[in-house]
């Protein structure tokens, strides 16, 4: 079942076409990967879906309703939440307070919000950092916090924008586990990532874009063998080997 359906989505910046006529669906319960060279338009697609940019053309249907043109907070209140590429915490709040901001979306009561925020911290493995100011977290923990903040808003669809950039391999393995755990709790995931071993092992399906256009779509195995993907993204030498 399609949770999110994108049709004929286009966005231009001046003369530059950032996203050109994209069509795809995100199915309930899956992990969908989005890959492509830097500047191919991946983050633009996320910004369009989450309401931070308005599409020039096209429709975005989430849970059966069109959401293009809504403001970001309206979209996130409907359960479609996102993280940011460069971890964007509230730097002078503690980790716990950061997560509470997300939690206040569904509840005014401070005590209850605090309690559920602690659970989220437990779930994401941040509970020991709860009194630390966000600006003092390590890269790995600030990526986790980025996810935890969004989880506190109990999303049905979570857009993850390069949450593994800058992580070492152990951290990547942990992040992969965490993302699987989130999916198993029933959250659908749409993920942009450059770390190939992560995206290949996580995704049920992968969409590849280049210059704002979709050039391939399918299972990780299929995409990895696709000549166009190899040429545009994975590197030419892959063809030979």
């Amino acid at each position: 079942m399609a949770l999110l359906e994108v049709q004929k989505l286009s966005k231009h910046f001046g003369g530059l076409t950032a996203v050109a006529n994209n069509n795809f669906v995100v199915n309930q319960g899956e992990i969908l990967g989005l890959i492509g060279p830097n500047g191919a338009g991946k983050t633009t697609i996320f910004n369009l879906i989450s309401g931070f940019l308005r599409p020039d053309q096209g429709t975005i249907v989430y849970k059966g309703k069109e959401i293009q043109g809504l403001t970001p907070h309206e979209i996130s209140r409907r359960g479609l939440m996102r993280t940011f590429q460069t971890a964007q915490a509230f730097p002078y709040m503690t980790t716990l307070q950061n997560v509470m901001v997300g939690g206040f979306m569904h509840d005014r009561n401070r005590k209850r919000v605090e309690k559920s925020a602690l659970e989220t911290l437990e779930f994401t493995g941040l509970v020991e950092q709860k009194e630390k100011k966000a600006e003092n977290l390590t890269i790995g923990d600030s990526r986790r916090l980025e996810i935890a903040k969004a989880l506190a808003g109990r999303p049905s669809l979570l857009l993850l924008d390069e949450v593994m950039a800058g992580l070492n391999e152990t951290e990547i393995a942990e992040a992969v586990e965490l993302i699987k755990k989130i999916r198993d709790r029933g959250t659908t995931i749409f993920i942009v990532e450059h770390v190939m071993q992560a995206i290949m092992s996580l995704s049920d399906r992968i969409i590849v874009i280049n210059y704002g256009r979709q050039i391939a779509e399918g299972s990780p195995e299929k995409v990895a063998k696709d000549n166009r993907v190899i040429e545009a993204y994975l590197g030419e030498e892959y063809v030979i080997e």
């Binding site: 970001p72 907070h73 509230f90």
Partner: protein, 324 residues
Amino acid sequence: MTMSSPGKKLYTVLIVPLIIFLVLPIFAGSYLLHIMIFIFFYAYLSQCWNILSGYTGQFSLGHAAFLGVGAYTSSFLFSQYSLTPWVGMFIGALVSLCVGLFIGHICFRFGLKGAFFALATMAFAEILRILFLNLPSMGGAQGLLLPLRGNAPLLYQFEGKAPFYYIALIMMLVSVAVAYAIERSKTGFYFKAIHQNEESAEALGVDTKKYKVIAVGLSAAMTAFGGTFFAQYFMYIQPDNTYSTFVSFDIMLRSIIGGMGTVAGPVIGSFILTPLAEITRSFLGGKSGAHLMIYGLILMAVCIFLPQGVYPGIKKWLTRFQSE
């Protein structure tokens, strides 16, 4: 963050000055009372400013506008229609709320941020000042002289300074309580989130525009009560002592020196700056400008050496005191 789980010792630290404040008028002379009134009054105004600018980070350089609207509304209704300022101040707050909502709405609707918002608020205050200078019905440049009714508590007029002292004290305490309540509520979390990262707040379901407008409105309405107090205390208002940019600076300076975005900052700032201003004024008053020169020096020094105000230092000291 601030004042989270204050220990028992912290309460004793706070209760002692509170008792002193309550009994002070019994012993204090009129001059000391006058200074104390000003300390409380500016702490109150600065707290109002702090709720907007300190917490949500929307930097207002035009809070004089709200002070002026409050002062002029209640004074106009009192001098023209003999409406008691006790009622007039609520009407003033209402008018100021509308002005605040209007300013906030149009500024944030067009996405004004940072220095642009600051300049716009300053321009709004200037517009009001020029407008009132040219409104004969509001007294124009001569200002409004409030009718004297002697000792008339029902008309917000008193003999002696003690009643004003207690009103200012209550206003300060109420503003502190409001700030404290906001800080611990959802609204406070949202205000701070908007300040620290507006984009991220929006992604977490915060209607940033709405909350910013709420902050402006709340701050404007509260500031207006200060305007009425000002008018009743001096019994005389004119555009240049209500709407002027210097009044706006005076209001925000306390928070900045004390610590923006903290409950205690404006109060601490007022206790530091107000007496200092008074002392320099009385020592150097013969030469006009001298005490404001010192103001400027303090402000620059704070920006360079203490950009977070004195509150973080005091907080550190308090935590050490508590743990002893």
